[in-house]
Amino acid sequence: MTTATRDGVLLEGLRRLGAVVIFLVQLLMQCVPALARPRLIVYQIYNAGARSLIIIMLSGLFVGMVLGLQGYDLLQRFGSVEALGIAAALGLLKELAPVITALLFAGRAGTALTSEIGLMRATDQLTAMEIMAVNPLRYVAAPRFLGGVIAMPLLTAIFSIVGLYGAQLIGVQLMGVDRGVFWSQMQGAVGLHNIYEGVMKSVVFGVACSLIAVHEGYHAEPTAAGVGMATTRTVVASSVLTLLLDYVLTAAFL
């Protein structure tokens, strides 16, 4: 890559980042007036959150079951299967629940948000609002953004709970780890700060994924191909950013 091309790519990247940051500031400014319409936000929490429940719960169950199985296999080599509860709880609360929930959210709710807003753009609905002197950022983007940000920690919590049940199902019910040991070890070792770490991550991922989904939809080219590409960009950007932020946050919490 020549220096000129590299500079061009760098500049384009910076320009895009700047555009997203400006969009975030505009969006946050509209979030306060958007709070005056709680009905819209509640509907979006339902849309992004409740409608993602089945995929989140199913995934949580399977991830927990795998964790139980892998954890048991590993720990029994060292004769410390009692620690399975701790391993499963810490793995889920701190890492797996926030990250996998965010990835699933990007694929399920993020794409729905992007394509919905993109189609509103393509069918002139956003322009019509502008002409009616209604800011589409306040009416369309802000409630969806807030809905996503609120739904993400709730989904993460549900993922963790179902995941723990899955780990218990395999570890205790199938592999025969003592139930009392499993739960008491977990209770003793998992502190509030671990839960806090998971919640913080899920809030940050919620902001990142919702922002990307709303931004891509809002700026989608108003054609069928444009909306399709915007939807793809939502999944790719949200997934990569989630994993990148996960590393940054993990390092910060250590």
Partner: protein, 264 residues
């Protein structure tokens, strides 16, 4: 009401308008006609301050749009209504809520009054019975009538119609035509109708402008335009496929291009 003076505007280096002049007079129906791609919709975007002219002046209600900030533009838009080609109804709201949308956003009227207002406007477009339908359940003509009810619900001073006749069956077309005339006569709304349907416009327009090559090619009543001896105006008014606006998009020599394709 609306004055466009010496407006220049270009997209990606391609000039759309080069010295456009136009006046919309209060209480009249002004038709803006022109072949596809002459910037009719762009002109509407200029008048509604969605885009800004690179040179020249656009004045609406006596205010120069270039001097207005975001709030000023929103305040101005509250005095305007616009009917989009496809209706642009909000797909997550039913017909009633679509029409009520601007009222709920801009006023704190009690629910009973909102209901009366919305039903009155729906009655005016003949769709009071469709109040509970979703936009997806409406035909193209019905969607446009709902959008018209929404556009007039705040009693605008200016109503802008973007290609209101496109894709309508003869009955729906007649209904829309009658409604435009009715809104203008009964409510005293100044109307701007952008379209390329010469026949439909001729029966309702008080003033007509013909856009061509980034300027006004002709202006006057529809009858005056029809009587024009300018080749460009005649071609458009009679729908002749060839003339000053050529049938063929600019291309290299036909024979030379065909022969070049045969070479290995």
């Amino acid at each position: 009401m609306v004055e466009v003076r010496d407006v220049h505007y270009a997209v990606g280096g391609r000039p759309i308008f080069a010295g456009l002049d136009l006046t919309v007079r209060r209480g009249r129906i002004t038709a803006i006609m022109g072949p596809s791609g002459t910037g009719k919709t762009t002109l509407l975007r200029l008048i509604t301050a969605q885009i800004r002219a690179s040179r020249g002046q656009v004045r609406v209600f006596g205010r120069d749009l270039a001097t207005l900030g975001g709030r000023g533009i929103y305040a101005l838009r509250q005095r305007m209504g616009m009917l989009f080609q496809n209706g642009a109804l909000l797909t997550d709201l039913d017909v009633f809520e679509n029409v009520a949308f601007p009222v709920r956003e801009h006023t704190d009227l009690p629910e009973a009054l909102v209901r009366t207002l919305v039903l009155t406007k729906l009655q005016a477009v003949g769709l009071r019975g469709a109040a509970e339908l979703m936009p997806g359940e409406l035909s193209g003509g019905m969607a446009r009538r709902v959008a018209l009810a929404r556009a007039i619900v705040m009693d605008p001073e200016v109503l802008i119609y973007d290609e209101p006749f496109v894709g309508l069956d003869p009955i729906s077309l007649g209904v829309i035509q009658r409604l435009i005339k009715h809104m203008n006569a009964a409510l005293g709304i100044t109307s701007i109708v952008v379209s390329h349907d010469v026949q439909e416009l001729a029966t309702i327009a008080d003033d007509s402008y013909l856009l061509s090559g980034g300027r006004i090619a002709a202006a006057g009543t529809p009858a005056q335009l029809r009587a024009s001896d300018s080749p460009a105006v005649r071609q458009f008014m009679t729908g002749s496929p060839d003339g000053p606006v050529e049938f063929h998009y600019p291309a290299p020599d036909y024979a030379a291009q065909l022969l070049a394709a045969e070479e290995p």
